[in-house]
């Protein structure tokens, strides 16, 4: 049992949980993730990136967007309650070293996993430039924490409600054109964003690392459900990743695989919401 120490909504549908998991807090490195099950027996296993950890407190921080049934269930848990099953840290940690200038691009909820990586890159002596993107102002998370790390921060929203009215690829292109250009780009966010960030940096031949969040079951290399095509090879996101060279990832295939269970996911979410509405009506 993994007790929830604190819970906070960062936006309308983005939740931050601090969870007791002392061993994971001790072992985890930036870039790694956990898999959890929000209810016993019939619950599904979903991967979530570790946004932060506090070994002294024995806690890890999870930041997630409420999108499917399991994240709904998770968001319904309150402080003092526990997550029934949680395993990690999984995946290979981010390769941290002094590259020079590192550009981090975080889109939406992707800002959360980018946070510990950006911090580690800064601590390793890099100049860190961050691009934070969100659909609209309310969905922008961790701005203050990110600004505290970065040497330079660019915020943009799709609708222009805050910062620049632009997609993250626009400032990314400008950074690529600077002299000297960045030494490394790290893009974490929705697949389509990572795909276009990779396409943006390709002509400049700037190494671009992306962090993939595919469908997983075990997270230890056993099932292969998370596999992606990288270059000519098949890779398992859970043990070979989650970070890959964005220029090599077969994006259409990866994005199609993410949608494999869409009808079932939509139905499960609808059924859950309907049941939750029913419970609320009864409460009244």
């Amino acid at each position: 049992m993994y007790k929830i120490r604190s819970k906070r909504y960062l936006s309308n549908d983005v939740v931050r949980l601090t969870v007791e998991a002392p061993l994971i807090a001790e072992e985890r490195r930036p870039g790694q993730f956990i898999i959890l099950q929000a209810r016993e027996d019939f619950g599904e296993r979903i991967p979530l990136t570790i946004a932060d950890a506090d070994p002294a407190q024995g806690t890890i921080t999870l930041i997630f967007q409420v999108v499917g049934k399991t994240t709904h269930l998770l968001a319904d848990l309150e402080e003092g309650e526990a997550i029934i099953n949680l395993v990690g840290p999984l995946g290979k940690p981010t390769h941290i070293e002094k590259f020079g200038t590192v550009v981090g691009v975080g889109g939406g909820i992707g800002v959360a996993p980018l946070h510990p990586i950006a911090k580690a890159m800064k601590e390793a002596g890099n100049r860190v430039v961050l691009i934070l993107g969100a659909r609209t102002r309310d969905l922008l998370i961790l701005e203050e924490q990110m600004r505290a790390i970065a040497d330079e921060t660019i915020v943009c929203t799709d609708d222009g409600s805050y910062g620049r009215k632009a997609l993250v690829t626009e400032p990314l292109k400008e950074l690529c054109e600077r002299v000297p250009p960045p030494d490394l780009v790290l893009a974490i966010g929705p697949p389509v964003m990572m795909k276009f960030c990779s396409a943006t940096t390709l002509p400049y031949a700037i190494r671009t690392v992306v962090s993939l969040n595919t469908i997983m079951v075990d997270g230890t290399g056993m099932c292969g459900g998370c596999r992606v095509t990288v270059g000519e090879e098949t890779k398992f996101v859970c043990v070979d990743g989650p970070e890959f060279d964005g220029h090599q990832v077969d994006w259409p295939n990866m994005m199609n695989r993410l949608r494999a269970y869409k009808p079932q996911e939509d139905a499960a979410r609808a059924a859950y919401r309907e049941a939750a509405d029913g419970r609320r009506r009864e409460d009244r």
Binding site: N85, V87, V217, T220, G221, C223, N253, N256
Partner: protein
């Protein structure tokens, strides 16, 4: 195969047993050979392909006794020879024949820790039953004494009567053992070492213990409550089980010794890395490894669609690649999940299939279509990136290869296309690299299997290994046999006598 109703089989057995017991003369070997082999009562194929309940229903007491009376109690005991854990088969079968079922199960359990499981999933026809004198006399291995079914019967009877005794545990030695993984090899190691008084902790990566018996073998072949009973026995003995714990990630192997103070470690992590064909289109949506498909269905219980949150792919026409037990399990699960057509594609013939004859027969009875001497060469996708067809080649058998089986040779120009929406790749497993990657000094062979000596000792003192991580994908009973040997060596190691490897 005909399918008499269980009541019919039971009635016939009752009559036959009464007749035998009413005789004044003892049974001669000739009489025994005339006793009809008892058929296993089973759910009818048309019915069972729509449910996940166990297919084989188990002998009645009368059936068990009659089947046992077929044993000649021959001096040669080829059955014991064929048993990887050397159960005293003639003695236990005799006890069944005498109706002394308590004695029978006690004899079995002297050597086998998990009889209810082995009685169900062991390939008896190539082990204890292969050279049975009865089968030889009747010139049909299928007519050997059904040792496995008798083993299952006595174990089930004990469990259902709630009579399972918790094995006695010796006084605490103060020594601590870590067991990595909770499949059959690990469970045996845990039980054997706990019995000797050592503190045992099992580390399992999944949220439930049981390994392949839980995530791999389907409910209709091995009900999960039976695995749970074995786990409960271990817990009652004082074994600690830590789920959600990945050795190599949550803790490194060396940390268990250096930081956590374990005196010895057993690695039984299984062959958990699915093999793929490495052909075009294999990553299309709708192409799954057997591991993923079976884990969703079994461990995550996706077959219970109304209750399970884990989805299973919406499938109509399914192809399963492979000819082993896992391929049969996948095919039969697919039928039970509502697939309209299931096609098993195997590049050799039925004779070379590694699957048990019984599983092949069950799959056919349930309506799985077999396509032998055929293999996939590429998968074709639609505009959404979903698999829509599979291109295959026909094969013929050539000269024997390294495995002793005749090598399948592709027939030029024999390309054919199968339209389908789901492909399950069940061509085996390689060893999971996680522990190897994070434990550089652990020696492995070129297939990534951990190298061990005859006692299961690895290249790291105090670290032992067994099961599929050592032998590649094999059987439950072989894993158990290796677990038993390793447990003995670990005990020796712990109490101070060094292992052979260490003396060197």
């Amino acid at each position: 195969m005909s399918h008499p109703a269980p009541e019919e089989l039971s009635e016939a057995a009752r009559t036959a047993l009464a007749e035998i017991l009413g005789r004044s003369e003892p049974l001669t070997p000739k009489d025994r050979l005339k006793i009809p082999a008892q058929q296993m009562p089973a759910q009818p194929p048309g019915e069972r392909r729509h449910n996940m309940d166990e297919v084989a229903l188990g002998y009645t007491a009368e059936q068990a006794r009659i089947e046992a009376l077929r044993c000649l109690q021959c001096k040669r005991q080829p059955c014991v020879e064929g048993c990887p854990v050397r159960i005293d088969i003639p003695a236990f079968v005799k006890a069944v024949g005498d109706g002394d079922f308590d004695q029978a199960v006690a004899i079995v359990k002297r050597n086998s820790l998990l009889p209810a499981i082995c009685g169900r999933v062991c390939p008896q026809e190539v082990q204890c039953q292969q050279n049975c004198t009865v089968g030889r006399s009747l010139k049909d291995v299928g007519k050997a004494v059904s040792i496995g079914r008798l083993e299952r019967f006595v174990a089930d009877r004990e469990r259902e009567a709630g009579e399972i005794d918790t094995p006695p545990v010796k006084a605490e030695t103060g020594k601590r053992v870590a067991v990595v993984g909770s499949g059959p090899a690990s469970l045996v190691v845990a039980a054997d070492l706990r019995r000797k008084g050592h503190a045992v902790t099992i580390f399992e990566a999944f949220h439930k213990p049981g390994g392949v018996m839980l995530y791999g073998i389907p409910e209709f072949r091995l009900p999960k409550r039976i695995v749970q009973t074995e786990i409960d026995t271990l817990l009652a003995m004082g074994v600690e089980i830590r789920t959600n714990f990945v050795i190599g990630r949550t803790r490194k192997l060396h940390d268990l010794i250096e930081k956590d103070g374990y005196d010895a470690i057993f690695v039984g992590t299984g062959a958990g890395l699915p093999k793929f064909m490495h052909i075009e289109g294999e990553n299309l949506v709708g192409v799954f490894s057997a591991n993923e498909f079976l884990t969703r269905v079994n461990l995550m219980r996706a077959y219970d669609r109304d209750r399970a949150d884990t989805p299973v792919f919406d499938m109509r026409k399914v192809a399963v690649l492979g000819g082993g037990n896992v391929a049969m399990d996948c095919s039969r699960c697919a039928l039970r999940l509502g697939a309209e057509e299931v096609h098993l594609v195997y590049r050799r013939t039925e004779k070379e299939m590694p699957a048990r004859a019984e599983e092949v027969a069950h799959a056919k009875e349930e309506g799985v279509n077999f396509h032998i001497l055929q293999n996939a060469i590429r998968m074709l996708g639609d505009a959404q990136g979903c698999v829509r067809a599979m291109e295959c080649l026909r094969y013929e058998l050539g000269e024997p290869d390294g495995s002793g089986r005749r090598r399948p040779v592709p027939i030029e120009g024999s390309e054919l296309v199968m339209e389908l929406d789901t492909v399950i790749v069940a061509i085996g497993n390689e060893s999971n690299p996680l522990i190897k990657q994070t434990t550089p000094d652990l020696e492995t062979n070129k297939w990534g299997n951990i190298t061990v000596d005859e006692n299961g000792a690895t290249s790291i003192p105090g670290v032992f290994a067994g099961g599929d991580i050592v032998s590649g994908a094999a059987t439950v009973i072989l894993a158990m046999g290796q677990g038993r040997i390793a447990a003995e060596a670990m005990h020796e190691f712990i109490v101070g006598k060094s292992t052979r490897r260490k003396r060197r």
